[in-house]
């Protein structure tokens, strides 16, 4: 009987458990997780913060779903792996033997590194516990500072603003999320944020968080100004939680390196989800994602390889739909390339693929809050940003992922002031009717 041990209670570990059980109903399955709230929708935390969703709705699994997987569960932190003995040590002293081990420990916020970062009233957003603590404090705090970039910083700013907190959003760079959005898109988001009452500070940096009675009381900026505030929330990037793997010598870069079968450098140890840096045959590189669906697919692939037939992970085109300043925004494939001074490494809901832009020409259309930007390659559409109206979002997802040849409309798309949405819609409906 095979003994499987899964570290983590996020989507990657849960999906791996489902895949293992589908192929091995008799094996012994053990899940270890240190999050007191277990498995919940991490992206859902943003909707919980903003008040769109009750906490009880964050849990996708019911009790019977867990029972079906016939797992033993340890609420504990795994502290060491002993590959030679094939054992994992937990912080409660238990040593678990394994035949196959999965590391799905996710990623966590890069800590702030400015004076005052350890004060009461400084928050990040990794876990439900963070969201709870922030909300409890927001009841009392009337002014907040938000720093960082990407989706999570915005979710923090908007969540706090929705709770009636006055928000100062401080950006190191000249505009919001320059690594993925273009200037116009950043501009749209920033003006919507201003409408929500959020004040933006560009090219600004906090030199020191100020305190009163051990709690945040404001910040001094590098340019000498001071801002009063009752709390500070940050999202300056995330780092995969690789310590467990690095210590016993598993090959790591920023994440744990895995091949297409989600195998690490140690036989019988697998990694999946935000913690894994996955080999991408298309680019020949190992890439990080911090996205729910790739974490799910990687978890499934790892589970299959641990218990069932050898199955290669096929990296889906990096894709995320999110709401930025209330505007539904879909980001597909390769869309940007710049550096982002507000982020260290990768951000939540981010993919490195979005910045791997080969030779492309940009076609864009739309106005104000409906905007479409395409990255047009020689024969294919390599990426797209769709803001507002999402009618074309699925079509574009297919055009990019399936690498559909667009040579016949390429010139039209690139013509000045081309109605690219109409051209695409027509092309898509013809493509579909030909396929049926």
């Amino acid at each position: 009987m095979t003994h499987y041990v899964l570290l983590g209670t996020g989507v990657a570990a849960i999906t791996a458990a489902e895949a293992i059980r589908a192929h091995d109903s008799g094996g012994e399955l053990t899940l270890v997780g240190d999050d007191p709230f277990g498995y919940y929708s991490r992206p859902g935390l943003a909707y919980y913060l903003i008040g769109e969703l009750g906490e009880e709705m964050l849990y996708p699994y019911r009790k019977e779903d867990f029972l079906k997987l016939k797992m033993r569960f340890y609420r504990a932190c795994a502290t060491r792996i002993f590959p030679a003995e094939k054992q994992v040590e937990l912080d409660n002293g238990t040593r678990l033997p394994y035949d196959k081990l999965l590391i799905a420990t996710g990623a966590q916020a890069v800590p702030l590194n400015i004076p005052g970062s350890d004060l009461k009233g400084v928050y990040k957003l990794d876990h439900l516990a963070d969201a709870r603590a922030l909300l409890a404090d927001a009841k009392h705090g009337r002014t907040a500072l938000v720093i960082g970039g990407g989706i999570t910083a915005l979710e923090l700013a908007e969540g706090l603003a929705a709770r009636g907190v006055r928000v100062h959003y401080i950006l190191r760079g000249e505009r919001y999320w320059p690594a993925v959005l273009d200037e116009l898109e950043s501009g749209v988001i920033e003006s919507l944020l201003a409408q929500e009452g959020i004040s933006l500070y560009h090219k600004c940096e906090i030199a020191e968080i100020l305190e009163k009675n051990g709690k945040v009381n404001g910040a001094r900026l590098v340019d000498g100004r001071t801002l009063k505030a009752d709390l500070l929330a940050y999202a300056i990037g995330i780092a995969p939680r690789i310590e467990l793997a690095r210590e016993p010598g598993l090959t790591c870069e920023r994440g744990i390196l895995v091949n297409e079968f989600m195998q690490t450098s140690q036989p019988d140890i697998y990694a999946a989800g935000d913690v894994a840096q996955v080999f991408d045959p298309a680019s020949g590189k190992y890439l990080l994602d911090s996205l729910w669906n790739p974490a799910r697919e990687q978890g499934r692939t790892a589970g299959l390889n641990m218990a069932g037939p050898a199955t290669a992970y096929i990296k889906p085109a990096a894709f995320n739909v999110t709401r930025l300043a209330g505007l539904t925004t879909t980001i597909i494939g390769a869309v940007g390339s710049g550096q982002d001074p507000d982020l260290l490494g990768i951000a939540r809901g981010d993919s490195e693929t979005w910045r791997q832009v080969p030779d492309v020409i940009v076609a864009q259309g739309g106005f104000e809050v409906n905007r479409l930007r395409l990255m047009v390659g020689e024969k294919h559409i390599l990426g797209a940003v769709i803001m507002g109206d999402q009618k074309l979002s699925r079509a574009l997802q297919n055009l990019v992922t399936q690498k559909i040849d667009i040579t016949s409309i390429r010139a039209q798309l690139l013509a000045p002031h081309a109605p690219i949405a109409d051209i695409l819609a027509q092309f898509w409906s013809i493509t579909q009717s030909l396929n049926h």
């Binding site: 989507v11 929708s41 991490r42 992206p43 859902g44 909707y47 769109e52 969703l53 009750g54 709705m57 964050l58 849990y59 996708p60 729910w292 669906n293 889906p316 894709f319 739909v321 999110t322 709401r323 539904t328 879909t330 999402q390 979002s393 699925r394 997802q397």
Partner: protein
């Protein structure tokens, strides 16, 4: 006027009866907004996890879940089950 209204109502009913909600699991992040907003408490999120259309005797095809999903993960799909009968 009344006739027009009635007609509109009827055609809406037909088009709804011919549709079902189909999730795209690749877009879903299991946030639960769909289930939370379903007026008849169908666990739409579960269908999205399993990649199965919401075929459920209680489903009103009211579109609340489709409209509320922040990630455009749900769409109406025509089934045309009654196309001939109703036409």
């Amino acid at each position: 006027m009344l006739h027009r209204l009635f007609h509109k109502e009827r055609s809406q009913r037909i088009s709804r009866a011919q549709g079902q909600v189909r999730p795209d699991p690749g877009r879903c992040v299991q946030c639960g907004i769909c289930s939370f907003n379903c007026p008849v408490e169908i666990d739409v999120r579960r269908h999205a996890w399993q990649g199965e259309p919401v075929i459920h005797s209680r489903c009103l095809t009211c579109g609340e879940c489709v409209a509320r999903c922040p990630r455009a993960a749900l769409a109406f799909e025509r089934t045309n089950l009654f196309a001939e009968k109703e036409a």
